[in-house]
């Protein structure tokens, strides 16, 4: 029987490779079984698939190397980790050294500039700072008397210097009341006395520390994970 309303050829190809579900494709199967054209197409596609599945293996046109070089032996997990460490060792050491160098320069620069400026006459700002800090410090550390509580503002300094002086004054007052041992020196507050409580800590020592830590860590990892020859 010849039918004009044929199913799509791709569906017939699916039927030829038996990928269709007979339950859902009952109409398709019924059509194919009664249609000469579609039966022929499905059979032909099936024969084509069978021929494709028989295509022979082929000889290479040139000899192939059957083995990779000896260096390329299968790597264990430890070897792979060692490989990563070896690969990143130089960049990490270089980064650590760079950080340490920057940290060293950053840490040493203020001291060096201070030494360089030591022989020269202090600038106007430096003179003001010295005038502000020195009397207050001497008042607090040496005298420790109630009179020192008003030492800062009494020296006629600026409002800013009055602010910086206030912790010293408070401490002096506390010392006067006998709450603390006058012989004990509070090192934690020493920086505040010299720099003021609002002064920022320098980041350069931390950079120096991070650089050194990076280098030490890389050296340790390499020593542990990378196998040594001999």
């Amino acid at each position: 029987m010849l039918i004009s309303n044929h199913p799509d050829d791709e569906r017939l190809s699916a039927l030829a490779s038996r990928e269709s579900d007979p339950a859902t494709d009952a109409a398709l199967t019924a059509h194919v079984s009664s249609c000469v054209r579609c039966t022929g197409l499905v059979d032909e596609l099936g024969a084509l698939r069978a021929a494709l599945a028989e295509l022979p293996d082929l000889a290479p046109h040139r000899p192939l190397r059957l083995l990779p070089p000896v260096d390329d032996a299968p790597a264990s997990a430890a070897d792979r980790l060692g490989g990563w460490v070896r690969r990143f060792f130089a960049p990490v050491i270089a980064s650590g050294a760079a950080l340490a160098l920057v940290g060293t320069i950053g840490t040493a620069a203020p001291a060096l500039s201070g030494m360089a400026a030591g022989g020269a006459a202090p600038s106007a700002d430096e003179r003001v700072t010295l005038q502000e800090v020195e009397p207050q410090a001497s008042a607090a550390d040496v005298v420790g008397a109630p009179a020192a509580a008003t030492a800062g503002p009494a020296e006629g300094a600026t409002a800013d210097s009055a602010e910086r002086a206030s912790p010293l004054s408070t401490e002096a007052a506390a010392a006067a009341e006998g709450d603390s041992d006058p012989s004990a020196f509070d090192y934690a507050d020493a920086d505040d006395r010299l720099l003021g409580p609002n002064a920022e800590r320098s980041p350069w020592p931390m950079v120096l520390f991070a650089g050194v830590a990076l280098m030490v860590g890389a050296l340790l990892l390499r020593w542990i994970l990378v196998p040594r020859v001999g």
Partner: protein, 203 residues
């Protein structure tokens, strides 16, 4: 001598007699055992690579790459048909080369009539029948090379090497529906290209 059954792929590499033992030795780093496996299966791998790439040099490169991948991965081989495992690696290596080549469209398309490797000697068992088979295979190879790359890849992996649709979809990073459509369109196009030689495969 008895005739080979129609359904047997007569010229496909069969497993080695002691394959499991050879694989086990290769997995522990025995290079001789690994070389034995690759030598045995190199024709299977090269055939797949050549059919996907249509270029003898690229096919040899892909096969070589596949051997290196297999060498690195054989420690994690977990059984199954070794030939299928190796062919999957070869298909991936070939597809990588194919993708790189597609990014450089300046390279000329190979002539489908040229560069076909020599088919194995098919006349040992039944000269007349095998001569017909040889002719069919040659026409099929030429027709396969004339298919668009996407359709050829899908037909070769699925119909020639028996991979399932999901595997082909994963390998070509395509949707399952796209792969099915490529296979069906490829088969229909192949049928058209083989129309002059229909008697070779329907007889």
């Amino acid at each position: 001598m008895a005739d080979v059954p129609e359904t047997t792929p007569t010229h496909r590499t069969l497993p080695l007699p002691d394959e499991a033992a050879v694989i086990a030795r290769a997995a522990t780093g025995d290079r001789t055992a690994f070389a034995q496996l690759m030598e045995h299966y190199q024709r299977a791998c090269y055939g797949l690579a050549w059919r996907l790439l249509s270029d003898p040099d690229q096919a040899a490169d892909a096969t070589q790459d596949a051997f290196i991948h297999a060498y690195r991965a054989i420690g994690s081989y977990r059984g199954g048909i070794f030939r299928s495992w190796l062919l999957r690696i070869t298909a991936n290596a070939s597809y990588d080369i194919l993708r790189r080549a597609q990014r450089r469209p300046s390279s000329p398309l190979p002539d489908p009539e040229e560069g076909a490797p020599e088919l194995p000697d098919l006349g040992a068992v039944n000269p007349e029948r095998e001569a017909t088979k040889g002719e069919l295979y040659r026409h099929l190879e030429v027709a396969l090379k004339r298919l668009p790359v996407d359709q050829r890849t899908a037909v070769v992996l699925c119909d020639v090497y028996g991979m399932d649709y999901n595997e082909v979809a994963a390998m070509t990073q395509s949707a399952l529906g796209t792969v099915k459509s490529r296979i069906h369109r490829g088969r229909l196009r192949l049928r058209e290209l083989m129309s002059e030689h229909r008697e070779l495969f329907t007889g």
